[in-house]
């Protein structure tokens, strides 16, 4: 099989006169259908559209003719977009998300829409309408969430890149579980127009690839101002690929001990320490840093309250009347009530209820505003660190992907909660953040997490690139699980 190529490799092949791109896509869809039976990662396979797109592709730009997958919360004109929710099971958008238009302009070929936690709210993919997504490295384990389908399809080598969305860690956590590169840029760097929202002050467009160079290509293509998203930045987009540089001598990297000290698993700890040594070997200045423990413990509460509150408000529009899964009722209120009762799973209802609680007039100051104030304290503390350090390094989580039958509710307080939930620091502060495969434990991939200053995507890419070049996990994929 030939379909596990990276973007750059495939681009070179597509430019050759004797390369049969049609045959390549035939094989790709065979594999996609085979993997679907194993992983349950697709909501929709868009075979017809992919062949149409392929006919139009001129293979000139790096992404022309390259197959990719979209998380099913990106609006795609004429293609069902469910956000893995019963509420939207028949929803067919009449417009494209901005990033979908950009990829169309490049000539990229959409091969399918991928499964996710319902409305992107979750970290396990267990709330998806089409069921759990399995990990390509071991099908008794989860791919993670909420962008689980996209992660699994890149990790099984079906596509060289896929888009996900990241509100708390929804790209970086499944990327870590599946052994691929996951990245979300600075908040505002990529337009979110047409991305079905979760929590607007935390939502990011981002991607999965199997190497850092490919990530630079994808992010450079998607980044930039869009007048349809008033939070999108007008800053110029650097040439991430051209400027990619694995010389990180003298770069200052802070190891956030408040997180890494929480590692319990010895092999994860050894792996993390080995990454620190490698960074030192590359000439980076690596030093320990800490954050006040009360702010560390506040990460999950702050995130939970803000995310639930914003989600409740954003999804008030899902009433079954203008679009969505309408149920009968004698009055408009009854239609809305019945549609929402029928259309949302119990996972999502719980979050909406708690979000509504935090937004109620009598609670808003005590809950929602309080969380926003603590958010400022957390962000200010991070910014203080960035006065002295270019990048913050942490483990990507406590360890390998959980078994399907051992899923733990993210909300449950336990000893590892800070380690497990800290990736949302990058969402609270809007920082560019990347998960990079760093090793294996029990045959399953693990990763480290790199966070840079806002709008310094390049620095994060460079550190990841330097590490990737001396590790053995570039372009890895698994079809064995």
């Amino acid at each position: 099989m030939m379909i596990q190529y990276s973007i750059e490799e495939l681009h070179q092949l597509l430019q050759l006169n004797d390369f049969d791109s049609k045959m390549y896509y035939d094989e790709l869809f065979q594999e996609a259908e085979f993997q679907q039976k194993k992983l349950n990662a697709f909501v929709t396979i868009t075979k017809e559209k992919a062949y149409k797109d392929l006919k139009k592709a001129d293979f000139i730009s790096l992404l022309s003719g390259i197959p990719y997958v979209l998380k099913d919360n990106y609006n795609t004109k004429g293609i069902r977009t469910t956000a893995s929710s019963l509420m939207l099971e028949d929803y067919i958008p009449i417009y494209n998300a901005h990033v979908v238009d950009l990829l169309n302009q490049q000539g990229s070929c959409l091969i399918g829409k991928s499964s996710m936690d319902e409305l992107a709210m979750g970290g396990t993919n267990q709330s998806a309408l089409t069921g759990i997504v399995y990990n390509p490295w071991d099908r008794t384990r989860i791919a993670g969430g909420s962008s689980g389908g996209s992660a699994a399809l890149v990790a099984s080598g079906v596509v060289p890149f896929a888009l996900g969305s990241d509100t708390g860690d929804s790209i970086r956590k499944p990327a870590g579980y599946c052994g691929v590169v996951g990245f979300k840029p600075t908040w505002g760097r990529i337009s979110r127009y047409g991305l079905i929202p979760y929590a607007s002050s935390l939502d990011h467009v981002g991607a999965f690839t199997r190497n850092v160079r490919d990530m630079a290509i994808v992010i450079e293509t998607l980044a930039g101002h869009d007048e349809k998203d008033m939070t999108s930045s007008i800053r110029e987009v650097p040439h991430y690929l051209e400027n990619l540089n694995d010389n990180i001598k003298g770069l200052k990297i802070g190891v956030l001990k408040s997180i890494s000290d929480e590692i319990i698993d010895i092999e994860v700890k050894e792996n993390f320490d080995s990454i620190i040594c490698k960074l030192q070997g590359l000439g980076a200045v690596v030093e320990d840093i800490t954050m006040p423990s009360n702010l560390m413990k506040a990460i999950l509460p702050t995130y939970t309250i803000i995310a639930n509150a914003e989600a409740t408000s954003n999804h008030a529009c899902l009433d079954g009347i203008k679009y969505g899964n309408r149920q009968d009722g004698e009055t408009i209120d009854e239609i809305i009530l019945h549609s929402r009762t029928h259309g949302f799973s119990h996972y999502i209802k719980r979050r909406f209820i708690l979000g509504n609680l935090a937004l109620a007039t009598e609670n808003q100051e005590r809950m929602f505003k309080k969380a926003q104030k603590v958010r400022r304290l957390i962000v200010e503390e991070l910014n203080r660190i960035y006065e002295d350090y270019d990048v913050i390094l942490t483990p990507n989580g406590r360890g390998i992907a959980p078994k399907v039958n051992e899923i733990v509710n993210n909300y449950l307080y336990d000893d590892h909660v800070i380690l497990e939930s800290h990736l949302c620091l990058a969402n609270l502060a809007g920082l560019p953040a990347l998960s990079l495969p760093s090793g294996f434990v029990d045959g399953m991939p693990i990763s480290v997490h790199l966070m840079g200053r806002i709008f310094e995507e390049q620095t994060v890419f460079n550190v990841a690139y330097a590490l990737e070049n001396i590790l053995d996990f570039k372009n890895q994929y698994s079809r064995e699980g």
Partner: protein, 96 residues
């Protein structure tokens, strides 16, 4: 416990859906955890701290020119509504 259940059912109703008795135990568990979160944040001194609504103070907020753009047709706008009549979304009578 009954009081809490009643409160949560009402809160669900205010959020425009109902929850079943089967859904209640997990909701109570999550509600308690949520209130732990609230309580924990109360222990942090935020005197004179302004709420942060976005990750950083947005340097550029803008409104585009007030020109007609991105128009969708009436047909498109109604495409996903389940009940339409005469180019309008049909709902039950408000005044009986």
């Amino acid at each position: 416990m009954t009081e809490m259940k009643t409160m949560l059912k009402q809160l669900a109703r205010d959020t425009m859906f109902d929850i079943s008795d089967d859904e209640m135990p997990a909701l109570i568990e999550e509600y308690n955890m949520f209130m732990n979160h609230v309580q924990f944040l109360e222990s942090i001194d935020t005197q004179d701290v302004e709420p942060l609504a976005f990750p950083y103070e947005v340097e550029t907020t803008f409104l585009r020119e007030d020109e007609v753009s991105h128009i969708i047709s009436r047909e498109d706008a109604l495409k996903n509504a389940k009940s339409i009549q005469d180019y309008q979304i049909k709902v039950p009578k408000v005044v009986k």
